[in-house]
Symmetry: C2
Subunit: 219 residues, 2 copies
């Protein structure tokens, strides 16, 4: 919730501030970010900053809101795969669409991932609602899978959600780590090797690591 003065600002000035904040957050995280540096990098005065935002948390929340909006738009435009699809197929599609989105806004995403995951805030109380939304979406998906008989009946529902959440997070952080070293991120994401890596990962999520082909000895 930035103040009105910020929203009234000319587009390019606003952008400059946002860019500076993104740089700062992705370099230092939330706790260690310095308003002084953000101010210096964006070429505004200290006083102006506090006329736009309450504090650096406020800036971060604003970035969160922006990216959530963008993500919504992105997923709305990108039509989900043909209905009648298997739930695992749908999850695979979602993961890949998420990857494309992340690579479309690499710096912004990097800042958020850095703060949420490597600063541990994702699991903290601050972003409990964000996580709650993500978990309940996954729960809906898993419930559907169970109803369709796609899910191993031995696996309890919350566990399946945990597995999917873990992989979703792991893939996100993995992508973000790669993005730091890749020149053309979009190209890298669409590389057959990259795609096949993710496919394999999701294959393991579905079928596990164990070789079940020769004979299955249940203990």
């Amino acid at each position: 919730m930035p103040k009105q003065t910020f929203l009234n600002l000319p587009e390019d000035k606003r952008r400059k501030i946002v860019e500076a904040a993104i740089d700062e957050f992705s370099a230092c995280g939330l706790e260690n970010a310095s308003t002084n540096r953000i101010v210096a990098a964006s070429g505004i005065s200290k006083g102006s900053f506090y006329q736009y935002f309450a504090d650096k948390r406020d800036v971060f929340n604003y970035l969160m809101r922006v990216i959530e909006e963008e993500k919504k738009n992105f997923f709305r435009d990108k039509h989900p795969p043909s209905s009648g699809q298997d739930t695992f197929g749908y999850f695979r599609w979602m993961i890949k669409a998420g990857m494309e989105f992340n690579s479309a806004y690499p710096r912004l995403n990097q800042a958020l991932v850095r703060v949420l995951f490597t600063e541990g805030l994702y699991f903290g109380p601050l972003f409990a609602d964000l996580r709650q939304r993500s978990v309940s979406a996954l729960t809906a998906m898993v419930t559907q899978a169970r109803e369709r008989g796609e899910l191993d009946p031995q696996v309890e529902l919350p566990l399946a959600v945990l597995v999917m959440e873990t992989w979703s997070n792991a893939i996100t952080t993995y992508i973000m780590r790669e993005i730091q070293q890749q020149a053309d991120v979009m190209a890298w994401i669409r590389l057959p090797e990259t795609q096949s890596k993710i496919d394999q990962l999701l294959y393991v999520m579905e079928y596990g690591l164990r070789n079940t082909t020769p004979e299955r000895k249940d203990s």
Copy 2:
């Protein structure tokens, strides 16, 4: 590498400093830890601190060395399960032994996990060697599994390592999160529910989420 003066210190004074450092690191992480607070909590003077250690990083490295030593002892005493065991069984044993170890040193482990994972240092260059050792141990294990035909031949070796690493880390952070809220950690770890949760998780790692019993339609 604390200085000799620290190592000459009487046992209880040394312990007090270590405890204070553990508290500080687990509460604030490495970056945000304050030597001032550590000094105040351990009842020594600022000057003494710098006579014992170079800086807070030095303290942290010392804690790392201590825990590594303890872990080595712990695993040496706890005999691995009967040989001839399946690799997945061995991994399962290792995970559980690791859990027991973590619950035996909950505060120290919490400090390290907090710094390594939630501060993202585990993936940074600072602890690259630590991670390297862990990855190469897993690689050896996976290679053995492949040779024995236990590993799904469709899964590439580095991917299997990644999967195991991810779960190992996920379980560790999960345990640490729980430990913060549990009174009797050891009891909690040995609870049938806890054990079964971990078992289920590792089951999913082996066999995946998908229901393969009714009929297997390969696409």
